[in-house]
Symmetry: C2
Subunit: 312 residues, 2 copies
């Protein structure tokens, strides 16, 4: 794993904060939890699609989907609990709803605070690490496209595959305030891991919350950005690695210290699935810069087995 | 409590099995769990109304409602867990559904056995005692009335308030088999507590399951029947205490050893609520019989403070 080197270099538990919320974050957390780290994840709270979107609209709750995924990723509980939290009902009134989402929804209703709700889930899932919502405000993501179009809601932006125009601006509505615990975690970390994940629907929503950008500037943490392997239509259409960095830096307020990028072969059958959505491999066009580029075969080894010496 | 005397008489933990499933059982279990007893509850699995009914119909699961209530009654977990399991969603897709029911439904789907599902809930709720479904078959209750009418489904029988005709027969469809753990619990108990609870929708459904009646005859346990305070329209309309006993004995296959019956005053405002449904106080017309009748003020003290010496 990229971070094994960090672990092996010192005796003390390194404090690491992961930023994100989607499937990429799930994979990173599932890997990192195996190491003796002081691990936190600051989670996007803008999800508005699917089961999560319906629950937040109908019940006026915070979106549970990304939190639930992070909680399961860090879980050290018996397999049954992980299966339960990922279980999706198929029929009837509950059709399409994920049990973990329903659990967080009910907990939010009966708890005295959202902290208490997360602590309760963390207790049953025996999570190794802290799961921190980036904000406790109910916010929506807005994307403005180069053609003048504006789309509100993470779910709709995520599904806007057909959009050919580039996103020129993203912001939150309303602006909202960061969870002080998220700021503390960013400021006190030694390493911050961003991505992989959909740039505009998993990563940038975290960075957009007030005070997060400032905390990123202030922290002495080394920032590691894990580049996506594939483009995402309607969001990073035809983006090369440098395009990802430009957009990331705009919302992060600084350059990352390390960029981890895939140089392995992706199986043709996998590529052809992506091709149906006009999604292609992200080309590494990164030239000399202030950050260190680490090229590794992330396809074969996942992000599990990046050896020592990769990070100065 | 009626059973304090049992507890106080011996040093060993007495084994007690409670029979039922509704609100009455909830109250009995909530009281009994405070004592150092080896406590089990054999729960009715015929519920077909409300949230439980919709979940069993839509998802093909066992009815979770009565189980959930018993699990919560025996819970020694922090108040938050009890509140969570009793929480009912008010809006949207989940409107009317109880979280505890949804939890049991999802667990049934991901568990290897129903035992595992109940063990998992018992673990989080820290239940003091064993909650045992009377059967693991999917059965429905059928009631035949004196006027020839037949109603299928516990939920419909329960709501059939307007019915003036007496229930002359009740049976299960299909017949189904008892859970061996239920039979074992009945056979090995020293005391069995039946009721209070709706005679035809909470008590008799348990007794109707194959082998239960035989186990009741075989067991050396003393049977304590707690008489309902009020009649229930459409089910025990105008029933006196002796009518309850006649119907109970028919399905129990023997007389109880003790009958606990209220002699306290019920507040006029409470009585007038019942009166709207033509429900009245159950009159104690019990004459000399083989069982011991214990009259106590159950209104004031609940069933909490029946003193020593009440049971021989």
């Amino acid at each position: 794993m990229l971070l094994r080197v960090i672990v092996s270099k010192v005796e003390s538990m390194k404090k690491i904060t992961v930023i994100g919320g989607g499937t990429g974050t799930f994979v990173v957390l599932s890997g990192l939890k195996k190491y003796p780290l002081d691990l936190s994840v600051v989670v996007s709270m803008m999800d508005s699609g699917g089961s999560t979107g319906r629950l937040r609209d109908q019940l006026g709750i915070l979106p549970p989907g990304d939190l639930r995924q992070c909680l399961v990723a860090l879980s050290d509980a018996p397999e049954l609990w992980r299966k339960l939290f990922l279980y999706r009902f198929e029929k009837g009134d509950l059709a399409g709803h994920n049990f973990g989402n329903i659990f967080l929804a009910a907990l939010e209703k009966v708890s005295n605070s959202y902290d208490e709700a997360i602590e309760t889930v963390s207790y049953v899932l025996k999570t190794k690490g802290k799961v921190i919502p980036v904000t406790l405000n109910k916010l929506h993501l807005v994307a403005e496209y180069d053609n003048g179009k504006r789309v509100t809601g993470e779910g709709l932006i995520d599904e806007n595959h057909a959009e050919k125009s580039r996103i020129i601006n993203a912001y939150l509505e309303p602006q909202g305030k960061a969870n002080p615990k998220a700021i503390k975690s960013i400021e006190e970390s030694e390493y911050i891991v961003i991505g992989p994940g959909d740039l505009y629907t998993s990563i940038i929503p975290v960075l957009l919350v007030s005070d997060v950008k400032e905390a990123m500037k202030k922290t002495k943490a080394k920032i590691i950005y894990i580049m996506n392997m594939m483009t995402k239509s309607g969001q990073t259409t035809n983006y090369k690695a440098s395009d990802h960095i430009v957009d990331l830096v705009k919302y992060l307020g600084r350059e990352p210290d390390y960029v981890l990028i895939n140089n392995g072969e992706i199986l043709p059958e996998v590529l052809s699935t992506y091709k149906r959505y006009n999604e292609v491999k992200v080309v590494n066009d990164l030239e000399k810069s202030n950050f260190q580029v680490i090229e590794k075969d992330l396809v074969d080894v996942g992000i599990e087995r990046i050896g020592e010496g990769d990070i100065d």
